[in-house]
Symmetry: C2
Subunit: 236 residues, 2 copies
């Protein structure tokens, strides 16, 4: 298995840091190949603009998707984006390792998605969802969350974690064709004892070693929708 | 009324650009005061790290919330963050003007939230949701969306737009105490004719001029939750 971890945390000594180191050592020892993009360490630039491209389609009006299409046809992506494309093309399993900040991806990781998942090479023209570019590959969110699990339940004050992660799991990962693995979530690592943290890391080891039987989130497929992309509700 | 627009689009000539210019001219002409943070034009830095602070609480381990608490007590925020705090404290109505990118905020705007909405000054210690720091103020997402409204309905292929925006409206804006206005959404401005785009801008003018009667999204209140922050479901 070829695993690509995109890691987004400013402190290497954090629990997120420990999780990515655990993933690398566990998966390597099990005979898998692992690559990591440590976005803070790489000084990843998250702002989408003309710096995404070596090519220019329209120098008067910046329309990002048009520039992406043009760059897809002319090998026009900036080197930092091209290197991420190579890692994505290489991997079988993508892991996003991040702390949930403001109920979403930290900006540095959101900007990795904004810049790397380009129209043309990665999506467009009917290439999306279960017919997406990464069809046959899997993707996993490994997330730390500040509050307790109860406050992220269906009746929790913060809302259901599945609903909170929907724009990431469905809108980003499934949109580009990945089979989306049910997320691995750790609540409140900052308030845990050392031994509790060690136990959670061991849970992550066990989880990763069962990668063959990861549970995939069941989403509707393109075939479930009509040409207007609205599902037939009569049978629901 | 004092209105603060946080604008996130790389192309000034875009429809998003036109919407912010429309908001400024409409609201100014109606006698309101308007300030704009045009994040691309400001070259806003979206990455959260030690550059957020002039102060240091722990130079060995970067724990962001701890540094934010410390900076809140010691006027330790970097100047770019402090200036945004001043605009937030000044305004009655906050508007996020952005294109929906990957079912969320563009990274530059996500990073504005990550860096500006700090523990200590803005939230923490029971100051959140309807008891939040911005209690009594209103906030609005004014959003452009690429696909048609039907594909963002409850049975649409992309999922329900209310669910997609939940992490922003509830998780970011309501979390810090704003009354959250039902969003103003424009679908597919890039595929519209000039006259259709003009009509949409006129709709936005009419919408803004009815600010007194903006519809506020009804969310549960802190009092609806027990001390474990889980709602009593017996009566639902």
């Amino acid at each position: 298995m070829k695993v690509f971890v995109v890691h987004a945390h400013p402190e290497p000594k954090s629990f997120n840091g420990a999780m990515t180191r655990t993933a690398v050592s566990t998966l390597s020892a099990a005979g898998h190949d692992v690559k990591v993009s440590d976005l803070y360490q790489m000084n990843w630039q998250p702002i989408s603009d003309r710096r995404n491209f070596k090519t220019i389609k329209d120098d008067d009006f910046y329309k990002q998707q048009l520039e992406e299409l043009h760059a897809s046809e002319n090998e026009g992506f900036a080197d930092d984006i091209r290197l991420e494309h190579e890692k994505l093309d290489w991997c079988d399993l993508l892991i996003f390792q991040f702390p949930l900040w403001w109920f979403g991806l930290p900006a540095i990781l959101k900007g990795w998605v904004d810049r790397v998942f380009v129209m043309g090479k990665i999506y467009g023209g009917g290439v999306w969802y279960d017919e997406g570019y990464f069809k046959g590959k899997r993707a996993l969110c490994s997330v730390t969350v500040g509050g307790p699990a109860s406050s992220y339940g269906v009746s929790g004050i913060n809302g259901d974690i599945d609903q909170i992660l929907f724009p990431i799991n469905h809108g980003i990962l499934y949109f580009v064709g990945f089979d989306v693995v049910r997320p691995f979530i750790v609540h409140g690592p900052a308030r845990m004892s050392e031994s509790e943290r060690r136990k959670k890391l061991n849970d992550y080891v066990s989880f990763l070693l069962r990668a063959d039987s990861f549970e995939i989130i069941k989403y509707k497929k393109l075939a479930d929708y009509g040409t207007t992309f609205v599902a037939d509700q009569k049978h629901e």
